[in-house]
Symmetry: D2
Subunit: 340 residues, 4 copies
């Protein structure tokens, strides 16, 4: 069976994660995330991301993290600023609006938002007949696999601070961003540069769960009530606790991401060597421009996602997962050489 | 005191409306809109707009009409298709999202939406990770004072029918649309071409209230429960009933709109004669392009709204109201001649 | 035609109110409640109720006042404490839950809530799997026409302060409470004893509108955005402004309430004199216990509301309105003497 | 370490479930619940519960099942009928109200609801100023461990059918109900007696996940959109699919429940033999009445939940889990003999 490059969550988890779960089997744990594993995992994450006053909540799914934090942070008439391509704007079936909030979209550049985007919004949305912009939402790595530099994040933080905006970062693929060859950001910046962010587990080999970190103490009160109210409190919270404990006790989280990025870099190199046009992306998503016929062949054989289609080209997405091996890339390249 | 051209709801109401209210003073009426005035007004509106199976609800405010109907018609994951400039998208402080629904925006042309806009949305929004497009929202007259032709409305209806979309028309300035010199639509088309629409009263000299008409019988059940649940049921519903009874028993509604359009046409003529560049708009909103200094002078003296500003021009909006007289236009023009 | 005792909002308004409206007819006013009438009315109300730092919003309908303030004041997981018979709990079609909030009900006594009711709730609702009690809702006068004493209100305020609870009073019939013969509360207490309250206009002869007063400065920020977001911002806000300006500039509000109470007292006296058993109620709602046959006769002829029915008795409600005259009571009593 | 009797979800899962997960480790599966394991598990569940036209959704958590189905099934002004003690009413932090719906509570008897409870509600809630009762919510086994008989369920179904009410059963502990010695209900009744129900996994040894079964075809359309909109669509749905496939392919689900009930029956027997007063409960929750001092001792040593406290008695809850062994009961009984 061919390895598929559809996404990074079609495989269960790294073996160590499964072992960590197996180790729970004779325990009786406190429930709802107040167990020893969750508490230790919380501390490990606060240490790595330098958020000593932060609180960490283990949540099932990135959409739920976004929904929970944004609906907690905003008053009814307040809005989110997001890129047009933002995950919350196009791929979450209206979950944010479902909690009552408008999303103001901006175009950005290269998958990233810039202070000027925010300032333009603030200029336009200036009276009570319009929603009140209040929270900036970005993803890192971005929807198209690019990453923010240290300076870019700090600049976004500044404009937020100055304009009383909440800054929230969707880290569904944060591991990939932080272990990219082009990365210049220390994990510790995340505990300081934003009000909240989440550390994606499900797309980084962790079986299930994301770690939502709220740095801002003013946005922590009664958050567990909020989780329960939205139906997202997990009775066996110790499962997610044990997973994240395993992921962060010895750096496994970053090891997985690093290895995945290495294979992705290898894929990019091979694609270029074979004359295939790829978009710049320093993480584990690889976007290639192909002729229609060739694109379809790869979609059929390797489960690629059709990303964009216009008269000139078809862009497909290869996602390298923690289970993708160099051999899988080699097999793919042989197929490409023979068929394209 | 100079007459101001800010909007069409800064003056109370046509004198006949005030008389109709005064006539209520010795009555004890059934409450919550089940009184004889409301019932008669409902029948008059059903007759004029040819909606024999329709139901009519008298509501305070256009935002509330939109909020009520859209939140009733849609399931949580369903979305509205609106122009980017749609009133619900930019001037209602997120009221639609406040009830849980995403708004998908399209660009349209000349303030109007076309079937191709809708079909493009349907092509893009095609899976369960995205909201489900389900309701088409337009305004007639539009936000920039243009009006839909009979053929355009029928074409929108066809594409909605074919694709199981609900078609809803915001008629905040419906009177102005239907009495425009360029209009080719009979009022009766509104009872047949859409699932629901509202007949704007507040911008057409009626003191208070809009008449929401639901043509589609499948969207009427328990609607009064919904009104109450949203806090919008008016205890003294007979007030709105008496207002709309007066407006529709002898055609006053259209008389007011017609006279207002006439004054607006006179204004357009005078502006053109004085070399001022205006946008095509066959209704009571008049958009003129001016130099920055001149625009500011008129804003300060006549309360004009600054509509759009770019490097090339400033567009200001004059709104002719039911209280605007030709003499008021003449006074304005004299000011313009002397100062611009 | 017989005068009906169904409720206190089936008649339009006091003649002075109509005159105040008529006086607007040649004005062009600023819209959305920022006009001179609204501003003056706000100041008058702040003076009367001694809320110098308060903000006043003119709203259409009591359900909307409740919905607006409660949904603004609470976070998603926070709940209201209300009597079982509270208007929000039984007569508003789930409007509060519609904004996301649970209502915790208590039994109270004689239509009133007491500190012990609140303390019991706080004892029970003590963890994050339950809603968090956060706002105390009472009505004055109450659903059964009783009124709170000065001491009772102060005691409720104390328990709220001590337990970080928001205290909100529904004053749909506040005029009747404050002008009752049994009343010992100065209007000025309302600016000091609670976080917010509303002054009912529609049940006190004011045509349309209620005045929501938010005393607590921490609960005022961006409230106008909230009103608009819920669809409740009235474009012609000057109508409500002019009504409340008229009602409070010379004490008309209390004059109407006082006169209504006087007629209600006369009715109670007459009923007692005729051997009819009435419940103690010092305001304009009068509850009488009757035999089934007699109750039905009065319901049919005078529009009384059937309040409660059990095997022993039927309780009907007479409501005295600002238009009810002593002659109407006499006519009713003659009917009773002849038929019961 | 002593075995704790706090609840039935403090232990990870049955060993076979862990094996089933381990077997996924080399697979790449389709995501979002459309994988082969989920599809097979769905068919197995439809077969066991005789719901050939049903649809099955695997969800994380019972609160989420309740929230999802109820918010999908109801229009904004419609309400749930639940026992006062219903899980949704007291232990879900207002999750149902959070989606906009009022809960009407009834007292019931012995933890169960009866047709007369429902009919009384329908009689009271009869106009548009009140919420519209539309969905009946019960739990089986109930909050106090009792179970519904076949006849009781059929009678509830009849009253729902007759009054256009949706009937929904919370089966958090359905396994325990269906394998109780007192049970007279076949699993297949659940596919026929209600519109929807969920089969609890997390309290029956299945690690994570519940299976929501919607029998009524009119309540299935676009349900996956709804799941995503509420943030509850699990990216690695194949995890839950594999768990439920394992649980239902050879009857493991019922084996676990049966064995747990057997140990619970042994506990009840032993408690009675030792003179401890227990409430009748034929499932795995055991409620005992104790003196204050004794209750506290057991709470401290065995993690019992304090269920109810009044002047006469303290009721504590023992929950027997799938990991509880007869030896654990013996150890507990020895402690009781020595200390109480």
């Amino acid at each position: 069976m061919k390895h598929r490059f559809t996404n990074d969550y079609s495989s269960l988890c790294h073996p160590n994660i499964l072992n960590a779960l197996a180790n729970l089997k004779d325990e009786q744990n406190v429930t709802y995330g107040l167990d020893k594993h969750s508490l230790r995992a919380e501390q490990l994450i606060k240490d790595v991301f330098e958020s000593p006053n932060g609180q960490v909540y283990f949540i099932s799914g990135g959409t739920m993290c976004n929904l929970l934090f944004i609906s907690y942070a905003l008053r009814p008439y307040e809005a989110v600023i997001s890129l047009e391509t933002g995950h919350i704007n196009v791929h979450e079936t209206g979950a944010i609006e479902g909690t009552g909030h408008h999303i103001i979209t901006v175009k950005g550049n290269n998958g990233k938002m810039y202070p000027s985007d925010i300032l333009n919004v603030l200029k336009t949305y200036n009276n009570e007949h319009m929603v009140k912009p209040r929270l900036v939402y970005i993803s890192d790595s971005t929807e198209i696999g690019t990453i923010y530099t240290r300076e870019e994040l700090i600049n976004l933080n500044k404009v937020c601070q100055k304009n009383d905006l909440i800054f929230y970062i969707d880290g569904a693929r944060l591991g990939s961003a932080l272990t990219s060859k082009e990365n210049d950001v220390e994990p510790g910046l995340f505990g300081n540069v934003c009000d909240a962010f989440y550390v994606g587990g499900e797309k980084n080999g962790l079986m299930i769960g994301e770690a939502l970190v709220i740095n801002n103490r003013d946005l922590q009160k009664d958050f567990r009530y909020h989780i329960k109210n939205r139906g997202a409190m997990i009775s066996k919270g110790y499962i997610l606790g044990a997973i994240f404990e395993e992921a962060f006790k010895d750096g496994l989280y970053f090891d997985i991401a690093k290895q995945t990025n290495d294979v992705a870099d290898y894929l990019k190199e091979q694609l270029i060597n074979n004359g295939i046009n790829i978009k710049p992306s320093p993480t584990n998503q690889v976007f290639a421009s192909l002729k229609k016929k060739d694109a379809q062949l790869l979609i059929d054989n390797y489960g690629l996602e059709l990303w964009e289609e216009n008269e000139q080209e078809i862009v497909v997405r290869f996602v390298v997962s923690f289970t993708t091996k160099k051999e899988d890339v080699d097999e793919l390249m042989a197929f490409i050489k023979n068929n394209i």
